[in-house]
């Protein structure tokens, strides 16, 4: 159909339900090629779900999607991407430990470019991003990350582009630049869906606007035919669900319980606010505009330098404990992770923060605890089988009641709440509203951040509306309506102040090669010192034995690093290397024929592969913790070795041992091969997509998934690679030992981990360098060797290795912990 070709997107009658929520109810949307189509709606109106369905990352229950005239039978992120759909997410899908250019390479799987850095620089310039291609995403400000996300869209040459609230963190100039680019795209015939909460911006950039309300399309208009007021009118108007308690008439003003004046912190600035006893004050605004940050500063979650006036006295709130001391009690938004102790009982959750009030000589007075808990359960009508029920098994509403109950037991003077009724059913909501009102009536002050304007209308005496970190409106009494709140938030045109960018020096200090440089320095210094004390240290004989010992450890450390980069861990490398030596001892005995050599190598390689597969399947697709997985295989491999050779036996053919330990002068061949493989791996890690994928998975599972990678599969491959490198290491070991010894190799587990950490790898994954791991291995072997030359005893070996590990881990973690704040 020719008519369809000019359509960038056609969505018809999409339905989507989640347990308990009908998120989309028959949504249809048309986007023409060459138009900018704005989509507006309140939080929870269904915008994110709709975009998820269009992109193929969420499956619709019913409905059809056509992109560029091709209808999608089986929507998937890969399929929609192939049709030219590109999304710039509101929360950028960027792996934090990777650089900008690496992220862009991962995001553009089909891009064939010779010079990636130039290609990336061009894309960044096109969207006027000031980030360097070599900047690590972790160190970028929010605005920079947002622009990198847009640059990712640029290189993907989209035919349909979805921009999800791209301007939130941007400054005015950055917004201008972004809009100029979007206009050029549209002129080239690209369809653009522009999701935003800012009507002035929509009026600047969009041709048409579609309003979503309550999972349905309220209507579509070209912009000239609809007024700002009418858009606001269409956006609001969700039916009121829960019953609200009456707001009492406010009495004459006494001194406020809580007051701040020109209060500034990360995320907001110059906020003045006072809250009186009996008042319920709401903080509104589009997400990410500073209202939550204000609450966090008051609660001591994000410490502020400025003082807060509590009951007329200036107080500094350094942490949550200080806030609690002054009667400020905080209720976090994410009750699962930040609020409740999900695996503890209702009783334990309720009583925890007030245990100190019910103790006798350090012991909890159980009778008093039970009584207080039961009183609270009754007061809030928490429905649980018993007070011993695990909180995780309760409904969302009852969980929230438990959380509020625990806070109320602390007797708050100022109660700070974030989204107190999110995911809470209607009945429980009414209970919560009633209890908050009752608390205020008892003389407390209540401050609420909520993304639901209806809730604020029903609950609050006063509402402050935030935009880009500042209070843009204060609504009192009759003004507190959903319409007024939405209008104040939607009509903001202001932009954020532009932010700075990181320096090259900081980048280097936090880079993957800084540890290597430090290690190299220590190695040279230590070497020079020992050589000055003992001339034999640099003799060919000593260098050769040291490097040969190093070769085995280097291989195993390289293997360990492959797994560690992917966010895994391998305790079993040590016993595995021993097992391979033992298996080999059955085939490589004197006299060694060609057939036995090949067969032996094949079988040993099969053992290594099987070991890698076992670890990889359990820790990858199996989802078992890497420590448990490799603990099991650690014991298993050790058992196998002992089963095959209860005592050392099976001497290797001397010719094979000689071959494995060949050296050219002081340089063992095994060492040269290890270095060559290490450098090749380093190149692979930095330059190839698969190397980047490995680090992306270790860096952030979710982001990796959004980039189209499968963390489970990548981890499986990582364990296979680790087993392969361990196999190489055990061949070197076999050449040195020359006998099947069942107790061989276990010490390599801890040594390989130490080497990897010294080399600067993050044990959480995503960071590390193979060169660094080899240098780490070198330092360990060198220290062991040097202590004998210096006449130091064995204790010094341990102390030096221990101190190096701790100082290395300490310094690296310090360097990386301080993040350039957005």
């Amino acid at each position: 159909m020719p008519a369809d070709i000019r359509r960038a997107l056609r969505v018809q009658e999409i339905h989507k339900s989640y347990p308990g929520v009908h998120a989309l109810r028959g949504v249809s949307l048309d986007v023409r090629a060459g138009e900018v189509h704005a989509v507006v709606g309140e939080n929870g109106a269904g915008k994110s779900t709709l975009m998820g369905v269009i992109s193929g990352s969420q499956a619709a229950d019913a409905g059809t999607i056509e992109i560029a005239g091709t209808s999608l039978d089986r929507p998937s992120p890969a399929a929609t991407r192939a049709l030219g759909l590109v999304i710039a997410h509101q929360w950028p899908a960027l792996a934090p430990d990777l650089t900008v250019v690496e992220n862009m390479t991962l995001a553009a799987p089909r891009a064939q470019v010779d010079d990636r850095v130039a290609w990336c620089r061009e894309a960044l310039a096109a969207v006027h991003a000031t980030a360097s291609p070599h900047d690590r995403v972790h160190d970028l400000s929010l605005a920079q990350r947002q622009l990198v996300e847009v640059a990712k869209a640029y290189v993907a040459s989209p035919r349909l582009l979805i921009l999800d609230e791209p301007t939130e963190p941007l400054s005015a100039t950055e917004i201008d630049n972004l809009f100029a680019w979007v206009e050029r795209l549209a002129a080239d015939g690209v369809g653009v869906i522009y999701i935003s909460h800012r009507i002035p911006e929509i009026r600047r950039i969009a041709d048409r606007v579609t309003v979503l309300r309550d999972g349905m399309v309220a209507g579509s208009w070209t912009l000239p035919e609809i007024s700002d007021d009418e858009i606001v009118h269409q956006v609001v108007g969700r039916p009121v669900e829960a019953a609200f308690a009456d707001k009492p008439k406010r009495a004459a003003r006494d001194t406020p319980i809580l007051a701040v004046d020109d209060f500034s912190c990360d995320g907001f600035a110059d906020v003045s606010l006072s809250v009186h006893a009996g008042e319920v004050v709401g903080l509104a605004g589009v997400e990410g505009n500073g209202q939550r940050e204000l609450l966090h500063a008051l609660a001591g979650v994000a410490p502020s330098r400025q003082a807060v006036v509590i009951d007329g006295v200036q107080r500094k709130i350094g942490d949550v404990r200080a806030a609690r001391r002054h009667g400020i009690v905080y209720l976090p938004a994410d009750r699962h992770d930040d609020g409740l102790f999900m695996r503890l009982s209702v009783r334990e959750n309720l009583a925890l923060s007030t245990l100190g009030e019910r103790r006798r000589g350090g012991f909890v007075r159980r009778g008093a605890e039970r009584e207080a808990v039961n009183r609270q359960i009754e007061r809030l009508d928490v429905r649980a089988a018993s007070s011993e029920t695990e909180v995780a098994t309760l409904s969302g509403g009852n969980q929230q009641k438990v959380l509020i109950g625990a806070a109320m037991m602390a007797g708050p003077r100022v109660f700070l709440l974030e989204d107190p009724t999110q995911g809470v059913d209607v009945g429980a909501r009414a209970e919560i509203y009633r209890s908050l009102r009752a608390l205020a009536a008892d003389g407390a002050a209540v401050l609420i951040v909520s993304s639901d304007p209806i809730e604020l209308e029903g609950l609050c005496d006063r509402v402050l509306v935030f935009a880009r970190g500042r209070v843009v409106a204060e609504l009192c009494d009759e003004q507190v309506t959903e319409h007024e709140i939405a209008q104040a938030a939607l009509m903001v045109a202001a932009a954020r102040e532009p932010g700075g960018s990181g320096s090259a020096k900081v980048r280097f200090l936090r880079g993957d090669y800084f540890p290597s440089l430090v290690l190299a320095g220590i190695i040279v210094a230590l070497g020079a010192f020992v050589a000055s004390r003992n001339g034999l240290y640099l003799s060919g004989q000593n260098v050769r034995t040291t490097l040969a010992l190093l070769a085995a450890l280097a291989f195993i450390a390289l293997g360990q690093l492959v797994v560690v980069q992917a966010g895994g861990f391998d305790l079993s490398v040590g016993p595995l290397s021993g097992l391979i030596v033992v298996v080999g001892s059955f085939y490589f005995a004197e006299p060694l024929g060609a057939g036995a050599l090949v067969l032996g190598l094949l079988i040993a390689a099969t053992v290594a592969f099987g070991a890698g597969l076992l670890n990889g399947v359990m820790a990858g697709p199996g989802g078992i913790s890497p420590i448990v997985t490799t603990l099991v295989t650690f014991i298993l491999f050790q058992g196998c070795s002992l089963l095959l050779r209860p005592t050392p036996g099976g001497t290797y053919d001397i010719r094979l041992s000689d071959a494995l330990t060949t050296a050219a002068g002081p340089l063992p061949v095994s060492f040269a091969v290890a270095v060559a493989i290490g450098i090749a791996l380093e190149w692979w890690l930095r330059r190839t997509r698969s190397g980047m994928a490995l680090r992306a998975v270790g860096s952030d599972d979710d982001v990796a998934r959004r980039l189209g990678l499968s963390p489970e599969r990548v981890r499986l491959y990582a364990y296979l690679g680790c087993a392969g490198l361990t196999f190489c290491g055990s061949l070197v070991l076999a050449g040195q030992v020359g006998i099947g010894d069942p107790n061989l190799g276990t010490e390599y587990t801890l040594m390989s981990i130490t080497a990897v950490v010294l080399g600067g790898a993050s044990i959480f994954g995503g960071r590390g360098s193979f060169v660094g791991a080899m240098l780490g291995a070198l330092l360990i072997v060198q220290v062991m060797n040097a202590t004998t030359f210096l006449g130091l005893d064995d204790a010094w070996q341990r102390w030096l290795v221990g101190l190096m590990t701790l100082s290395g881990a300490g310094v690296y973690s310090r360097l990386r912990a301080t993040r350039t704040s957005p």
């Binding site: 193929g56 229950d61 019913a62 409905g63 059809t64 039978d73 089986r74 929507p75 998937s76 979650v301 949550v320 404990r321 905080y330 976090p332 992770d337 930040d338 695996r343 503890l344 009982s345 925890l352 923060s353 103790r359 012991f363 909890v364 009508d381 928490v382 649980a384 089988a385 018993s386 007070s387 011993e388 199996g622 989802g623 078992i624 448990v628 603990l631 099991v632 014991i635 298993l636 050790q638 058992g639 002992l642 089963l643 209860p646 069942p742 801890l750 981990i753 044990i763 959480f764 005893d793 064995d794 010094w796 070996q797 341990r798 102390w799 221990g802 101190l803 300490g810 973690s813 310090r814």
Partner: protein, 350 residues
């Protein structure tokens, strides 16, 4: 309807389930022992098994406390060896068992404090911090002993081998540690807060707890447990080797896993830990008594831990099952073009 107090249960939810599982496993093991090797359940054999189980239990209780906070204490090997070395060498050098024991416990506290500070203040990953401290502790062992084991003072040996009221002193020590730690964790304010911090760091901070202090303390308590274990081992073995603590690294972690304590932290039961230590020791005893080589001991150990994890990590299995189901559902839609291909829309690429 408001909650009316239902009959109170002593075993609490998942906690009870974990206890039941390891208890059940132990019962099965004892039955198997009864059939396969009744000798292992005879008085004299049990008497040789119980001290080992007790010492493992004490060390594993320490490990449990650390694991509750999502950590893993690799310094158990070094700390046990260090304690054994200090108590023997100390008694010889300073003279007098009490002084040696004081020295040992003081050193253990230092080890624990260093671990805790590194983790809580310098935010070094627990595994790496304890790995480094382990190396330091072993260094001290080598330094103090000069590489030669010292004989334990005869008083210590006598204490560890003798019985009080017919019960072996090592068993009494394990029961005391179990009771003290159990009661503190379950009944005191400090213990309850310790559990809460382990379940959720963020929630504990938002509830106003002094989280950093609660992150240091477990390492100190654990180190003290290792010191008790190390002292007992020294007395029991009479002339403890320098690396006498080494096997305790793998075995304490194995016991913690068997006891059903998630390595990500959270609720744990020291009773389950003790039962798991008993289980592991008896398992080894059984394997040895039927004439199997040490190797089989290892194989069975790893199989048992794997089985224990498999029954617990249901999440992984469920995920695999879901994966399989979506695979199976991905059949080509047999819909006419006019109808809505809703079945095909349901599928997602995972």
């Amino acid at each position: 309807m408001p909650t009316t107090a239902p009959p109170r249960r002593r075993a609490e939810g998942a906690f009870g389930a974990v206890l039941g599982r390891i208890g059940f496993a132990l019962a099965v093991l004892l039955l198997v022992s009864l059939v396969a090797a009744p000798d292992t359940l005879r008085g004299s054999t049990l008497l040789t098994m119980l001290p080992f189980a007790s010492m493992l239990a004490i060390a594993a209780i320490g490990q449990t406390i650390v694991v509750q906070h999502g950590g893993l204490d690799l310094s158990v090997a070094g700390a046990v060896s260090l304690s054994a070395a200090l108590v023997t060498k100390g008694a010889q050098e300073i003279g007098g068992l009490p002084a040696a024991i004081c020295l040992t416990f003081g050193a253990a506290m230092v080890v624990g404090l260093v671990n805790g500070m590194l983790v809580a203040r310098l935010s070094i990953t627990p595994m790496i911090a304890t790995l480094g401290v382990n190396a330091l502790a072993i260094g001290v062992v080598l330094d103090v002993t000069g590489g030669v084991p010292t004989a334990a003072p005869s008083a210590l040996t006598r204490i560890t081998i003798e019985r009080t009221l017919g019960v072996q002193n090592t068993v009494i020590a394990a029961l005391v540690v179990l009771t003290v730690v159990g009661v503190v964790v379950q009944r005191t304010v400090v213990g309850r807060r310790h559990v809460a911090v382990g379940v959720s760091n963020a929630a504990a901070r938002n509830a106003g707890l002094r989280v950093s202090a609660y992150r240091v303390a477990p390492y100190v308590v654990a180190a003290l447990c290792y010191a008790i274990a190390g002292t007992l081992i020294a007395g029991f073995q009479q002339s403890p080797g320098l690396s006498v603590g080494e096997p305790y690294l793998i075995s304490t972690v194995a016991v913690v896993v068997l006891a059903g304590t998630p390595l990500t932290g959270g609720r744990a039961s020291v009773i389950a830990t003790t039962l798991a230590a008993l289980f592991l020791t008896q398992l080894n005893q059984l394997v040895l008594s039927v004439g199997a080589p040490t190797a089989v001991q290892y194989l069975i150990q790893s199989a048992v831990i794997a089985a224990g994890v498999a029954t617990r990590e249901v999440a992984g299995l469920q995920r695999a099952a879901r994966h399989l189901r979506t695979r199976l559902r991905r059949r080509p839609p047999v819909t006419t073009p006019a109808s809505i291909p809703s079945s095909s829309l349901k599928e997602t690429e995972s």
